[in-house]
């Protein structure tokens, strides 16, 4: 059983690392979390994203949620914002697809074009 005391240890451990990150200009990742997104599996997509970021110790990334983006048929959707760049919208996401987006886009900086809304709209 975990105890609150362990939090104190985590605090000590992360204190220094946090200070380094204060004036970051980081990447923002947003997951659609309205009824449409949740019913389509957005929570697992978000959990997968958080696990990946934690396991790989990736810094400078903020994960947030948003409401309905307006194209419910494409949920779960994930938007990636690089500072100063146009956002990239990923559609019909799964935890497996998230893995590739984390590696190729969030770590290596090149969007996974085939998962984007642009690619999806070409097919339909």
């Amino acid at each position: 059983m975990k105890t609150l005391k362990e939090l104190e240890e985590i605090r000590q451990r992360t204190l220094e690392a946090i200070n380094l990150r204060k004036d970051r200009n980081g990447i923002r990742v947003v997951v659609g979390m309205a009824t449409c997104g949740i019913a389509a599996g957005a929570r697992n997509v978000l959990t997968g994203l958080i696990d990946q970021i934690r396991d790989r110790r990736i810094q400078h990334i903020t994960v947030a949620q948003t409401g309905c983006i307006g194209v419910c048929r494409y949920e779960p959707m994930v938007e990636v914002y690089y500072p100063g760049e146009e956002k990239v919208t990923y559609v019909n996401m799964t935890p497996e697809k998230v893995e590739r987006v984390v590696t190729e886009h969030l770590v290596n900086g090149s969007p996974v074009t085939e998962y984007t809304i642009g690619a999806a709209e070409k097919i339909h």
């Binding site: 059983m1 605090r11 979390m33 309205a34 934690r54």
Partner: protein, 183 residues
């Protein structure tokens, strides 16, 4: 929605959109009485009586990106399938309380699903909101209060990966201890 944890995640979005600073989630599994209650209370902007009636209507929503709002109607339908009911009390400017109760062992009762994942997701995505999650079973009570955690963590945000990881395991272990959210 596949399970109750997803309903919960969806219902709390209403509190978030209402600008809540504190959201209380109470789940009570009463095996002896064969009754399950799920209550959500927030200190958001609240609603007047007219609006409360409208939120039960699938064609009412305050959002502008689509014309239907299915969150509450879907939940009400699921609860009514299990011989239960949902009530919403609200005071404009003070907050809203959603109460639901239904048969715990009803054949149509959705499974609990991943309550740990839902609560963790809510905390992760809403740094400005405090959550109190209380889960009661016949064998005990588990409580998580983010205000307590914030006090210990000081300047470290709760959405830090290590803290979020700890919270998720803490909930999972806590629920296991009281046999909560199993079926």
């Amino acid at each position: 929605m596949q399970d109750l944890s997803l309903f919960l995640l969806d219902l709390v979005q209403n509190s978030i959109r209402a600008g809540a600073g504190l959201v209380k989630i109470d789940i009570h599994e009463n095996e002896k009485r064969d009754w399950l209650s799920i209550d959500i209370a927030d200190d958001g902007r609240g609603m007047d009586d007219k609006t409360i009636k409208m939120v039960m209507d699938p064609f009412y929503t305050t959002r502008t990106t689509r014309k239907v709002g299915l969150g509450i109607p879907l939940f009400v339908a699921a609860v009514e399938r299990c011989q239960g009911n949902v009530t919403i009390e609200s005071t404009a400017g003070r907050g809203t309380k959603l109460k639901s109760g239904f048969l715990l062992r009803h054949v149509d009762r959705p499974p609990f699903g991943r309550l740990d994942s839902t609560v963790t997701t809510l905390i992760m995505c809403n740094p400005g909101i405090d959550f109190v999650y209380c889960h009661k079973t016949d064998s005990g009570i588990f409580t998580l209060d983010t205000r307590e955690i914030r006090e210990i963590m000081g300047e470290i945000p709760l959405e830090h990966p290590d803290v979020i990881g700890w919270i998720e395991t803490y909930i999972r272990d806590g629920l296991k201890e009281i046999d909560g959210g199993v079926s």
